[in-house]
Symmetry: C2
Subunit: 591 residues, 2 copies
């Protein structure tokens, strides 16, 4: 039996149980079975109608006709530098475009959230149960004939084999846009405040606050926050070593820290996030934000000599939150987009729009953000070479080399490329776990996610990868392009011109990111005003924050290199996706 | 020292510490100290400017000039029946007005929430810490010279004296609009799903989901929900007694129930809310919603024979949520508003508006909703008289009389009037606790709340109460009209013409209610469609739910009286507020 739109499969399994397994409804229509032998598509609020919600309304038809494709937009944004130089220099045009970026991206994300990890339909719990990650697409119903619904085989490929053939790094592939290792650790440090899987309860559970809440700096809850605070002048506890301020040892604080290897006493620091003692790069960011907080408290105490410790602390936290978001939008996302359009963090652009100031972290966003290929195999810090193994559970390396030296070195070091066969040895266990979780939680196919995010489904493995050899490997694994798993699709997809990623990571990641950031309460009209940040002085800090200032205002030495892009990096011409399997040394990637 | 706008006090206390204690900023401007001797008002996003944010912008001036006052609007809505009969019969006009009701009311509530109970300024925690009630106005800073800032005396009146003089019921005052006891228990049953003070942690904490989440029917969490479920055909557990379905005994279920007196075994039922075994009226609602859920499951199983227990259960829950909201808006709020305009529950009216589909229960809303005077001293059930004491921890009374008899009796019985000197004996402990909590959490003055909700501050005790004797009593307690406590102001305020309440309860309560209800996720565009409720059959139930159907579709007998208003009640002419103190029998209220 073959339902329209999903007929490119052959399956001998009977699936009379649930006709919705073939995902017949298009354009966001909701499939509802009518007994065992029929179904209907609910097209309400989709701007489409018809049996499969396949016919656009007249207005929608015009909109679709006028709307440029994602790849046209991408090409516009990465090229035409002269054009964007003009646009960037005219504030009202820049703001007009930025507003469109905010609304077009964030409109794609359902808010309030709709699905959870345990039901293939809407439930009350999907909204009210905050201990769940949300789901953008619901799980594939358990009664469906194949793990992807009806496409593909009844059994998914062996995970070890997949990892071996698709993910294992044989030779290090550098990120071709010159993204630095400083960027990699920023990504990890920033996102771990909201990607918090509560693995003891199961991969569908999380223990965070579903947003940019600065818990990675101030601790997971009020209890830890109090432990980390000095309760004097608003400041966080610190210690001085080698004439620099560092986080205190945890024996003097007592927050919960978790290490992946046994930890030495002089490596056990008290940090906002329990994981951040595991890597010097994370420890570096934890330190610099701690210093920034204490610096801001000094500034605010001067402006408000009447304020007590509590108010200085709370206002410092708000200022750091604002600074974090500005740096994330204007420098971090700028680097990963590689657009010539200069991104802008300006919450006022959304005032009066039907934008929801609430966020829920999606399981799919968490999976998508598994950017472990960014991590190189070794790091050159001030001339000394360290392997990843030397880095593990060894934060004191930062103290040894000093903050300036450390940030300088990471700025000058190329991150890894997010592509096939570029997961370093120490990240393989993570990607295996990830694949398992995706299956346990019955993630829909990569192509279903493309459609959900307004992208055409890939029609062939060649179209997905742009590489014959890799296409063949994938075909052997999955048989059907509509059966490719989510994370596999993301990583094996061909890179876009002049981009850091393939199309899907950007077209999915950007909506989640923009939504997550702009939905922060400080971006809402009642928060976004000088008094929230302690008046003009704090407001100025938030509105002029940069990554360079973050580091250099908290260093006694001269300002080192602080950059998300390796300085003087010369981008090569775009090359097709590079795939080799056990034969990398011989001939590199075959096309 | 006397700051503009709050000069009607005399205080010898120095308050050089915080000039914001006098609340100098108007119209939502945020006061920020500048050292010890100065302050500024942040007027951002208020549509006002000037030192105190006292000057409206040109556009705002015109809006204010065009905007009718709350009392003009009230008089329009309670009178002119012929006019409203026409309006109610023309759908597009009715919808136009209802949309204005939704937006005007809900715009008053800050969303995302801004304040918590522990800071007089915005914090990150105010948004992210869900265990707090939110605050609409922040607490009075602790360093202020008086509990209300600068107004009034340094010490608030003795609570026992206040309660004696203002709240103790000497003779029962019936609700003058004919509101029934069925209404009282609806209010209590419905609101207890989100008014959940976590008193062990402190009055600022709560243990609920901040909205209409049906936890009062299905249990406080997934664990309790599973205990209450039969896991067959989606249904909740029940038992049959006297040929009627009732909730099971808790010995067979094991959820946590809390009783205010020792409970007999045959009175200990398993209900969604731990408190609902304490009163037969609550037990009645718990039972009828349980029956309705099971009835809906039967209906849905017929429409979807392919569905499993889980899907029937989850869809039943969504349908009951939709039905609850419709009954609450179109019948419950209709009754308490006493408007001639026929209220409408239509979520589509807010689609495309900058309305926030999120809600946070405010401490002030919880305090405002302490409507204990609604409870009469005794109940006539099918001819037998029961005192409140007979009612306590005695749910089996409902079983004894039967559901039909019980709901009929409550429908015909007049509730108490929400006014001074009308708190029954058994509710006095509650109101004392409430007053204490208001002080611990440093609630701002009644007049500050009036201003926050766009009402002019009362200028005298006479203006507040409309009753000379009561005005004198209040003046003796507080000295200054700007020092009157929040709950005291609400209860002592004169009743509006033809209304159930004084002006402030309505002008504050309506925004909280409308916001809380319409912000429910099911009202958002992705939820509000037939498929969410299991298709046309469920959609029809949600769209035609009434209180009468809720009861009568779940009774085997003929349909009894089911009404929020006592049938054939003849409203008397409005009388001024009735206040007497120990001399009620002699002369009633003196004016």
């Amino acid at each position: 039996m073959c339902i329209l739109y999903t007929c490119n499969y052959t399956s001998s399994v009977s699936y009379a149980e649930n006709l919705c397994c073939s995902y017949p409804c298009q354009n966001g229509g909701v499939c509802l079975t009518k007994g065992f032998n029929d179904y209907e598509c609910d097209c309400t609020s989709t701007d489409f109608y018809g049996r499969y919600c396949e016919v656009p309304t007249f207005t929608k038809r015009i909109k679709l006709w006028l709307k440029p494709s994602p790849s046209t937009l991408h090409n516009l944004l990465i090229g035409n530098k002269w054009f964007w130089d003009i646009v960037n220099s005219i504030p009202f045009i820049r703001k007009f475009i930025m507003k469109r970026v905010y609304t077009i991206r964030s409109d794609i994300i359902d808010s309030p959230p709709t699905y959870d990890n345990e039901h293939s339909y809407i439930t009350v719990d999907a909204n009210y149960n905050l201990s769940f990650f949300t789901r953008t697409l619901p799980p594939v119903p358990i009664e469906c004939p194949t793990p992807m619904g009806v496409a593909g085989q009844t059994k998914l490929p062996d995970i070890d084999e997949l990892v071996q053939k698709l993910f294992v790094r044989e030779k290090f592939k550098p990120e071709p846009r010159g993204t630095s290792a400083l960027f990699s650790f920023y990504a990890q440090h920033f996102t771990h405040q909201f990607f918090k899987t509560d693995i003891k309860r199961g991969p569908q559970y999380q223990w965070g606050g579903h947003g940019v809440d600065m818990t990675h700096v101030y601790g997971k809850d009020k209890h830890d926050e109090h432990l980390l605070r000095s309760h004097t002048d608003g400041k966080l506890k610190f210690q001085t070593i080698n004439d620099e301020d560092w986080p205190p040892f945890n024996k003097d604080v007592g927050v919960e820290m978790k290490y992946i290897l046994p930890v030495q006493k002089d490596n056990d620091f008290a940090l906002g996030h329990s994981f951040f003692g595991n890597l010097p790069g994370l420890f570096m960011y934890a330190t610099i934000w701690m210093r920034e907080h204490n610096r801001v408290c000094d500034v605010m105490r001067k402006a408000h000599p009447d304020w007590d410790d509590e108010r200085l602390f709370q206002t410092g936290k708000l200022i750091l939150l604002g600074s974090t978001i500005r740096i994330t939008v204007e420098e971090y996302i700028q680097q990963l987009s590689n657009y010539n359009f200069k991104l802008l963090f300006d919450p006022t652009l959304l005032f009066g729009e039907p934008f929801q100031y609430q966020n829920r972290v999606a399981l799919e966003f968490n999976h998508l953000y598994h950017w472990h290929p960014l991590m190189p195999d070794d790091f050159n810090i001030g001339g000394t070479n360290y392997t990843i193994k030397d880095f593990l559970v060894n934060p004191k390396l930062v103290i040894k080399h000093g903050m300036a030296n450390f940030v300088d070195s990471l700025s000058k070091q190329n991150a890894g490329s997010i592509t096939v066969k570029n997961h370093g040895k120490y990240t393989l266990a993570v990607v295996k776990e990830l694949m398992k979780h995706g299956r346990t939680l019955r993630l829909q196919s990569f192509n279903n996610y493309r459609k959900r995010f307004n992208l055409p489904a890939h029609k062939s493995f060649q179209e997905l990868t742009g590489n014959k050899k890799l296409a063949k490997v994938l075909e052997n694994f999955y048989g059907d392009i509509d059966a490719v798993e989510f994370y596999v699709g993301l990583i094996t997809e061909k890179r876009r011109p002049k981009a850091v990623f393939g199309e899907t990571i950007v077209e999915m990641g950007a909506p989640y990111s923009v939504k997550g950031i702009m939905a922060n309460p400080i971006c809402s009209p009642k928060y976004w005003k000088p008094s929230t940040f302690g008046g003009d002085v704090g407001w100025e800090i938030v509105n002029t924050a940069t990554l360079k200032k973050l580091f250099c205002q908290n260093l006694k030495e001269n300002c080192p290199e602080v950059s998300f892009k390796v300085p003087n990096f010369v981008e090569e011409q775009d090359k097709p996706l590079d795939y080799c399997d056990g034969d990398c040394q011989q001939h590199g990637g075959e096309l």
